[in-house]
């Protein structure tokens, strides 16, 4: 899996053909063939692709992702400055999303067909339909500019996080809520819920002990998916709110054709995602004895 990720990340180099020309921006005037070849040699692009890949991979394993063209310092250092900001943003959003989505989803399932169910459906549909960048802009316009309640952008205290977190989580709250609801509804229709009721247990016990735990198992998988969406979402959110994190950095690297930095960012984000999915798989096996024991 990780190997596949690194190949794709490395492959970014070659998507448009000759990376040398991409970096130099076509065939620049004032450079002779020889100049270009020299540059190519300097960058090591004249070696066989597989050698380049292995070389890059070898350094990457040791934490060396090369040097950024733009920042003129090591990519590792550039990223080290930005990564904590992104993790803070994504982590808070993930937790917030779960705290809000799980109770609402359960409520909607238990009160199926009532006002609460329909209310949550409307919220979910809107949450999934409003593009996050527009939501971000609207929040800035109304909450920050018009009423001046929170800062427009930048980092600092907790007040700087409020708008970015709302922007980042709106989609995942909506999706998780619907997922929890449908998972819960499915579990409530299972035979073992009937068995539990036939034992004369209190409704709250049936819900908590027999329904909720089973319903949340598939939701754990969601956390993995969510993390991917949240990391991707940081690109837009960080750009809008000028939040100095990985997302913004990546966008700038892409726009500046800073290929080594792009590679480093892509690899890092994908690796985080893969790691989170490994953790999710592990959590799955803890929660579900069928997986644990097979």
């Amino acid at each position: 899996m990780i190997i596949g990720v690194t190949i794709v990340a490395f492959g970014v180099n070659f998507l448009a053909g000759d990376p040398t020309l991409v970096i130099l921006g076509g065939e620049p005037r004032g450079m002779t063939r020889e100049d270009i070849d020299d540059f190519r040699h300097e960058m090591g692009f004249d070696r066989p692709v597989i050698v380049q890949y292995l070389d890059w991979l070898g350094s990457a394993v040791q934490g060396d992702f090369g040097t950024s063209y733009r920042y003129r310092e090591s990519n590792t250092a550039v990223i080290r400055d930005r990564l904590p900001n992104t993790l803070k943003l994504a982590g808070v959003s993930l937790i917030l999303s779960l705290i809000i989505a799980i109770p609402l989803g359960v409520l909607a399932a238990i009160k199926k067909g009532t006002f609460w169910d329909r209310f949550s459906l409307v919220i979910a549909l809107i949450g999934q339909s409003v593009p996050s960048f527009w939501l971000g802009l609207m929040l800035i316009m109304i909450v920050a500019v018009k009423f001046g309640l929170v800062p427009v952008s930048g980092t600092g205290g907790i007040e700087y996080m409020i708008l970015p977190v709302i922007t980042l989580t709106s989609f995942s709250i909506a999706r998780n809520m619907r997922m929890v609801r449908s998972s819960m509804l499915e579990v409530l229709g299972e035979d073992y819920i009937r068995t539990a009721k036939s034992k004369g247990l209190k409704n709250s016990v049936v819900l908590r002990r027999h329904a909720l735990r089973n319903a949340l198992i598939p939701v754990v998988t969601l956390i993995g998916l969510d993390m991917g969406a949240l990391l991707g979402g940081t690109i837009i959110t960080e750009t809008i709110f000028a939040w100095p994190g990985m997302g913004w950095l990546t966008l700038q690297a892409i726009q500046g054709k800073d290929l080594p930095l792009v590679q480093a960012c892509v690899t890092l984000m994908a690796t985080i995602f893969v790691l989170i999915n490994l953790i999710v798989d592990f959590a799955y096996s803890v929660l579900d004895p069928r997986v644990r024991l097979s």
Binding site: G4, V5, V8, F133, R178, M179, G232, N277
Partner: protein, 292 residues
């Protein structure tokens, strides 16, 4: 003999639609949007790219300082917002539909192959799907577009090619369970070829879920296209798109609210209607077979 030909009554979709008010409204709104997009040149009086610096930043009509020639106001270089919105609908819908058709075809084909035949092909393709899923979607597209350069068809192709995973996973799952069904075994027992089994027995049974995923994909693709345009990596500079209007309007967020509000409303409304319609479709098709 004639009695035999009496056609069986098909599922009454229209009745179902009439019973679900939200879905009905969204279908009507979508119809209007499509109408505007298709007949854009006939419905607009102004060229969406005509700049007129004398009328820059006019607000929409009911507000002070507006000009009835520009119903929804003008932007920072005096272009007519209404016309740009209508032409923007064209881009959004076109990108949405074409990209979804491309990814749908790729995804369904791969899903059928992996699900029906299994084996090492299945392993390889599913591993590819895993790898693609391991990448934050938008990051991947950004990286690709940065290199191949912006442009309408590049955007469509990138969105189309990257969207196959959702289809192939669902189709593969459906096919794997269908393959074990006894009616497929019965078809093999009467000597039907693989080709016949796939066309006659498998495809009709996966159409439902595929249409549902497609409807959600359209909305997701429209958002993705707008996001790309917003980040400056989408459709080329000349064309009016909702995403780019938002990105341009962003600079005037404190002076000209309509430049960010109106394209956003169009975008959100379109996506909302498609999602409501997709939700309804999923309930009608089979609530259990598809998950978002």
């Amino acid at each position: 003999m004639n009695k035999r030909k009496k056609k069986h009554k098909k599922h009454d979709w229209l009745r179902d639609l009439r019973e679900n008010k939200a879905a009905l409204v969204s279908v009507i709104v979508l119809g209007i949007i499509v109408f505007f997009a298709v007949f854009a040149p006939l419905l607009t009086t102004q060229d969406p790219n005509y700049t007129n610096l004398r009328v820059r930043l006019l607000p929409p009509v009911p507000f002070e300082g507006s000009n009835p020639e520009h119903l929804l106001g003008t932007d920072s270089v005096g272009r007519d917002v209404a016309s740009r919105l209508i032409y923007g609908a064209r881009i959004s819908l076109m990108v949405g539909f074409i990209a979804v058709v491309i990814s749908g075809l790729i995804g369904v084909a791969l899903g059928l192959i992996t699900g029906y035949f299994g084996g090492w092909v299945d392993d390889v393709i599913m591993r590819l799907a895993d790898i693609q899923l391991a990448f934050p979607f938008i990051l991947l597209m950004l990286a690709v577009l940065a290199v191949v350069g912006p442009g309408l068809w590049n955007v469509i192709l990138v969105l189309g090619v990257t969207g196959w995973v959702a289809y192939s996973r669902i189709v593969r799952g459906c096919v794997m369970s269908l393959r074990e069904k006894e009616f497929v075994e019965a078809a093999r027992a009467i000597g039907a070829s693989n080709q016949r089994i796939i066309i006659k027995h498998l495809i009709p049974n996966i159409i439902g879920p595929v249409v549902v995923i497609a409807s959600f994909s359209v909305s997701r693709t429209i958002i993705a296209e707008a996001s790309l345009s917003f980040l400056g990596l989408g459709v080329d500079v000349e064309t009016a798109t909702w995403g780019k209007m938002l990105s341009e309007g962003r600079l005037y967020i404190s002076d000209a609210w309509w430049l960010t509000t109106l394209p956003g409303i169009c975008l959100a409304l379109t996506v909302l209607c498609i999602n409501v319609f997709g939700d309804w479709l999923r309930d009608v098709v089979d609530p259990k077979s598809v998950e978002r």
